[in-house]
Structures are given as C-alpha cells and as structure tokens.
C-alpha cells in the first residue's frame, strides 16, 4: 500500500474537540447566516446554550457565531427573546 501522507492526524476516527464540539467543518453546510444586533443583545446567553454545534463565541458584551462551524440552522434566532438575531441568506454576503 502506497499512500504516505495523510491530512488526518489520528490513526482512527478521532478529532480534537478543544474548541467545544467543533470537530467537523460544518460551516460549509450553511445557506443562511445569523446576524446579531449588538444593540438588542442583552448578553443572556440563550443562543449559546441552544446552539447545536456550540459555536457561539463569547464577546465582551454580546454573542456572535463562529462562521467556520455555524451550519445556519437558525435555532439561535428562534430562541433569542429580544429578537436580536436575524437569519440572512448567504447570497447577501460577499465573504
């Protein structure tokens, strides 16, 4: 058998999860993106609690998604009591 170099680090199906549960490249699945209105955000943390891949990043006084892992499910927007998160189509963004 001839393959010498692998992109995976481990012999078996392990992946580092030191950044919460962020071990799969789920960001590529997204068709809609959560946008946080920093003025409305009261820093309650509900979005971070409900986020399935646990990708909400804690900023000094608000939360925002890590777009490398956010799959655009919209649960954060649904759960936010202040309506501070809106889901916007990926096509609206250039990056």
């Amino acid at each position: 058998m001839a393959v010498k170099k692998f992109s995976t680090k481990y012999e078996a199906a392990w992946s580092d999860a030191d950044q919460l549960l962020l071990c799969l490249d789920t960001g590529t699945w997204r068709t809609k993106r959560p946008v946080v209105d920093k003025e409305k955000c009261t820093y309650c943390g509900l979005c971070a609690i409900y986020c399935p891949p646990q990708c909400m990043i804690t900023r000094p006084d608000f939360f925002e998604p890590n777009l490398n892992f956010c799959k655009g499910c919209g649960i954060c927007a649904k759960e936010c009591l202040r309506g501070a998160i809106t889901m916007r189509p990926e096509g609206d963004f250039t990056s």
């Binding site: 992109s7 199906a13 392990w14 580092d16 071990c23 799969l24």
Partner: protein, 400 residues
C-alpha cells in the same frame, strides 16, 4: 525464558474461551447469553462472583448493548471482552461495524452457528461469513486448547499499536463449544508477561475527560477515505503480526499454530485440501490414512479468514496439481463455498489448476471421515486431469 507448564484441566470449548478471557484481565466484560455460547457468560460470571475476574461486568439487555459497551470501554483505554453467536451477532451488527470503524480493539469469541432464515439451533460458519466485510480481524480455531491460546493472542493483536482493530475468534458451536477435552491453563503471571509487550508501546489515542476529543467523526469525503485506507493498511499489517505473535506464543508457552495458516504434510504433496475449524482434526486423520495408501495429499488449515492470507496460501499451493476446499457455509449468489470463492480469486498467482468446492456440515451435519475421503478421492482424480464437478454438496450428492 519459558512459561511454567500450566495446570491441565478437562473443560469445554466455551470454558476455555472464558478462561482465556479471564487470564487477560479485561477491565470490562459485557455479554448476552445465546446458544451455543451461554456457558461462556456463565463461566465468566462465576469467575466474577468468586473474585477471579476483577472486571466490570455490565449486565446488558441484548447483544447490541453488549458490543456498544465493550467498544466504548476500549475507546476509554480499557481491555474488553464479549462473546456471541449467530442471532446475537446479527443483533449487534451495526455495533460490530461501529467497533471496526472506531478501530476499537475489542476481542470477541463468536461460537459459530447457522443464521436466521431457517430456524437452525445448530453448527455452521454462516454467521462469521455474514460479517466478513465488517473490517474485523477474523480467526477460526480448531479445539479447546487453541481457543484459550488464541484469545490470549487476540488481545496482543487487537491492542497492538500498529493494529488497533477488533478481533473475532471463531469456533464451531455444538462441536467445540460443548466438547470437553484436556486444556492447559497458563499461569496468570505468564499471561501478564506475554501481554506486557503492549505496555512498552506508545499509548493509543483514548477518551480522556481532561482533553476533549471527538470519536467517530470525520465523516466527510477525503478524511473518510483516508480512514478507510488506514484501516485496510492495518488489516494488511495484521497478517505478519499474527504470525509473529503466534511464534512468540510458541517460544514462551510451547504451543503454536502456524499463524495465518497451518500446513500439514503439504511439502511433498501432489494436491491439497483446505478447510477450517473442527473439520481440520478429522481431515488430519484422513490425510494420514490416505498417505499410508500412497496418496500424496496435504492439508491446509485456514486460521485467519480476515485479512485473507493471500501470500501464505499462494506459497503453500503454487505447484500443486489441484485443491479441494471444504466449507461449512455457503456463498449465496456464487453458489459455492465462501472460502473456495476467496481462494479462486488467487488463480492468477497459483496457476490454472482445478479448484473444487465441497459444501458440508451445514446445520450440525457431521463432516465425517468418509466425507473427507470422498473429497480427497475427487480432488485426486481432478489432479490426474480427469473431469470434475466444481461444486459438490456432499451430504446431498451420493457418490456414483
């Protein structure tokens, strides 16, 4: 350095499996009883109750939970053992695949029995055949002593840093499972010493609460393909590793079984027969009898079924005039024996010689001496260039 000669005790194959597992000091045992394996669970429970086995015995409600429990235990760095048969193996099927995919070094005794479809509480290797593409290492053994010894070797193989794969040790249900014969039980400290090689190796990746890690992820495209490739490469390495472990075992305990295959009187043989499991013992006797009549027949015992010992078989068979394969199961669709069809795939390397398939011993039909004599006669005729029948269902086809 030699091991002490172990205590000799009369025991069944199932007891030998339980002794083998107990001597390896597993951390976790989870197993659900099923005929003809039940006695393995009973014996392990007895060891646990009297303090001989200091393992966590997880009482499970079925085989699926059993396999998930032992696979998870090995991912957490433990040593784990389970045993099953037929319906039980089918019931844990997704977990069997999971264990292999996770590279969980579980050791499982599988007591061969016919599979669902026709209710057959009887012997047959079909259950093992149904799981041949799961990515497990599969070994087939012949008698009680070999069960005990091979389970100890299986832990060395499964947990080896270069392998990290689950190993299934198969033995014929109803025949070897219940047959009582003398078995040497190695001393505990000698088994500890034999397995201590594993402690000198690097630590395989395991679950550790202080270091968050995902198990079984990486399910996408190239990464998935890499993991499959690594899995196949590990299976490839397992062949030589199994030979080496068998040799080590022989040097230390004084018993060895040839590794991937065992050759018996093949060197000067004109033709050979290939079989596995309990049929090998009877075949040896018949080969000896035929030899006294001047028939130059040899016998190959297949011990490793997955990975398939291609190189060893090519070396053993190349130059022979014909081969007969006795299977205790069927290959649906090819309509012949499964070990036979695997061997046929080696035709380019071994040469275009007659290869004959014999299906025998399904559902506890005895593979008798007359049956094997007939196999040898048929293969001898084919070796002489006479026309032959490719597939013969021995008990259903009277000799003309």
């Amino acid at each position: 350095m030699k091991a002490k000669q172990g205590e000799l005790k009369v025991m069944t194959g199932n007891s030998a499996a339980a002794y083998g597992a107990m001597l390896c000091r597993p951390d976790v045992v989870a197993s659900y009883p099923i005929t003809p394996q039940t006695e393995v669970v009973e014996q392990l429970s007895r060891f646990h109750a009297d303090g001989t086995l200091e393992a966590e015995m997880i009482e499970v409600e079925g085989e699926n939970s059993a396999m998930n429990a032992v696979a998870a235990a090995t991912l957490a760095g433990g040593r784990a053992f389970t045993a099953t048969s037929s319906w039980g193996l089918v019931y844990m099927y997704d977990a069997v695949l999971q264990a292999a995919g996770f590279r969980a070094p579980v050791v499982m005794a599988n007591v061969n029995r016919e599979t669902p479809g026709i209710l057959a509480v009887s012997s047959g290797q079909q259950d093992m055949i149904q799981t041949r593409d799961t990515g497990w290492i599969q070994v087939i053994v012949e008698n009680s002593q070999e069960i005990l010894d091979t389970i100890i070797m299986a832990f060395r193989l499964a947990e080896d840093y270069d392998i990290q794969l689950p190993v299934m040790v198969n033995y014929d249900g109803f025949y070897i499972s219940y047959l009582a014969e003398g078995v040497r039980i190695p001393a505990r400290e000698d088994v500890d010493r034999f397995l201590s090689v594993l402690k000198t190796q690097p630590q395989r990746t395991i679950m550790d609460p202080t270091r968050p890690i995902g198990a079984g992820s990486h399910g996408l495209m190239t990464e998935f393909m890499e993991l499959r490739y690594r899995h196949c490469a590990a299976l490839d390495r397992a062949k030589k590793k199994f030979d080496d472990i068998d040799k080590d075992y022989g040097d230390f305990f004084g018993r060895s079984y040839g590794g991937q295959i065992e050759e018996y009187r093949t060197e000067d043989a004109d033709f050979v027969i290939l079989t596995s499991g309990s049929a090998v013992g009877t075949s040896r006797t018949v080969v000896d009898a035929k030899r006294t009549e001047g028939v130059k027949v040899g016998l190959i015992k297949l011990r490793m079924f997955r990975p398939f010992p291609q190189e060893k078989l090519i070396k053993a068979i190349k130059g022979k005039k014909a081969v007969g394969v006795i299977d205790r199961s069927v290959n649906f669709g090819w309509n012949c024996g499964p070990i036979y069809s695997e061997l046929r795939a080696l035709t380019p390397e071994i040469g275009n010689i007659p290869i004959l398939s014999f299906i025998d011993g399904l559902a506890s039909i005895d593979i008798t001496k007359p049956h094997i004599e007939r196999v040898i006669d048929d293969v001898a005729n084919a070796a002489k260039g006479k026309p032959y029948q490719a597939v013969t269902w021995i008990p259903l086809e009277e000799r003309e």
